[in-house]
Amino acid sequence: MFSLESITTLVQDWLNKTFSPNLALFFEFVIVGVLAITLFAGLGLVLVLMERKVAAWIQIRLGPNRVGPKGMFQSLADTIKLIMKEGLTPDGADKFLFNLAPFIVMMVAMLVLAPIGFAKGFQIWDINIGVLYVSAISSVSVIGILMAGWASNNKYSLLGAMRSGAQMVSYELSVGLSVLSIIVLTGSLGLNDIVLSQQDGWWIFKGHIPAIISFVIFIIAVTAETNRAPFDLAEAESELTAGFHTEYSGMKFALFFLAEYINIFIVCAIGATLFLGGWMPFHIGNWESFNHVMDYIPSFLWFFGKTFFLIFLIMWFRWTFPRLRVDQLLNLEWKYLLPISMFNLILMTLIAIKGWHF
């Protein structure tokens, strides 16, 4: 059976045999870095095209169809255009912070990638506090947005940044609580342990109704945290032109754009790992033969399938629902999501203690 684990062990063995341990470690760093950047570039291209196609089909349009067959190279052409464009820095902007902000947002997106398990035995860093690490690092990206908004010296950018900050800070609570309800079941923060604990079925099926509720809350809250419609007040184009990245152009804008899509991928990967079993194939209890058949599908296909399903769900939201007002946004979080997820967490704890889950 094809698996990525054998490739990684092969590469590691070869490196350790040919070079000294320090040098081998260095080469591994380089390989991981190159792979991560390749993944980012590929994801950016695929997700932008996917978003445009999904948008078009939902609105009964055709979508991009001129560049390449079925418009497949559209996002590639857009990238080339963005690279060629001049990166302007507005007058009166804090130049240092203005140029730093897109990199901070991008670096945060890269760092969060580390503990995600893409396939069986294919994980950059199996840190024992995986989920906590993800939520900690992703809270830094709000700083990048605030920095961009401030340094642009533009009222739209500042307003967008402040909205975005308030939104991300408040929705982080719901994300945290809904993630905690799964942590209560698994008893471990490590993403690998969480995946392994779903050997006999995914948590969304095993955890009864509380797991479904926390899944719904998680999806709503991460949609808000990635600043996507219907929660895209931070960049509401009809009110704030583009929010915090109004003044950015060229490659610096492209970094913000890419970071947005990478963040979507990451939150969907986390959601897939927590609720849908990550790379774990679809298993039902102890039906050995059924589970065995499912194991024949490679684990990275399972992971990417689930992740892209969640991404599609979030895109579906974007092209269905109208944007919320600021007061509705805060009402939704503080009056509905947070109390429900707190109550849900207590319910989940009860289930975990009594052992009612499967």
Partner: protein, 175 residues
């Protein structure tokens, strides 16, 4: 010098450099950003020591919480975009003196404390579950009482905030 100590010195230099920049810059927003980098440097020091939990908490509390709060309050201040006036010399001297005396005091305390070398490095490995149990244990070295006290304090401050933010009723005219 091993690779680990090189990384330590790089991180330490980063923390100190950004810390100095945070207090010497004359733009208040930049000061907060330098402070942020300094705090991230401390978190990376924790990562270097393989105290992942502490590092993550450092980032959540300081970067995600306090620095964001500072930045928000800067955003809401008038004239926060302008450069601040140069501090007067006397104030500078006293600030440096205060910092140096603090440094001397801390250094002396550290040098006096008899640090024990752990028998095996495995003792350093901290599980999150153990931290949680320690937090809620009522036995020796348990943190249940402080933990609950802090939660009471936070609850009280939250209620206070709500009371302050409550809309005042229209004053009734008693003639």
């Amino acid at each position: 010098m091993s690779a680990a100590s090189i990384i330590f010195y790089i991180i330490a230099a980063f923390i100190l450099g950004t810390g100095i920049l945070a207090v010497t810059t004359r733009k208040i927003f930049r000061a907060s950003i330098w402070l942020l980098f300094s705090l991230i440097g401390i978190a990376s020091l924790y990562f270097w020591m393989q105290l992942e939990f502490l590092a993550a908490v450092q980032i959540i509390v300081y970067v995600g919480g306090i620095v964001v709060l500072i930045i928000f309050s800067i955003f809401l201040t008038i004239k926060s975009g302008e450069e601040m006036p140069k501090p007067i010399l006397k104030r500078n001297i006293f600030a440096i003196l205060a910092a140096l005396s603090g440094l001397a005091y801390t250094a002396r305390q550290i040098s006096l404390y008899p640090f024990k070398k752990p028998e095996n490095s495995a003792a350093f490995e901290l599980k999150v579950g153990d931290i949680g149990r320690q937090m809620l244990s009522t036995t020796d070295h348990g943190y249940l009482l402080p933990f609950e006290l802090i939660s009471m304090l936070l609850l009280a401050s939250m209620i206070g905030c709500i009371v302050i933010a409550l809309k005042q009723k229209e004053p009734v005219n008693h003639l």
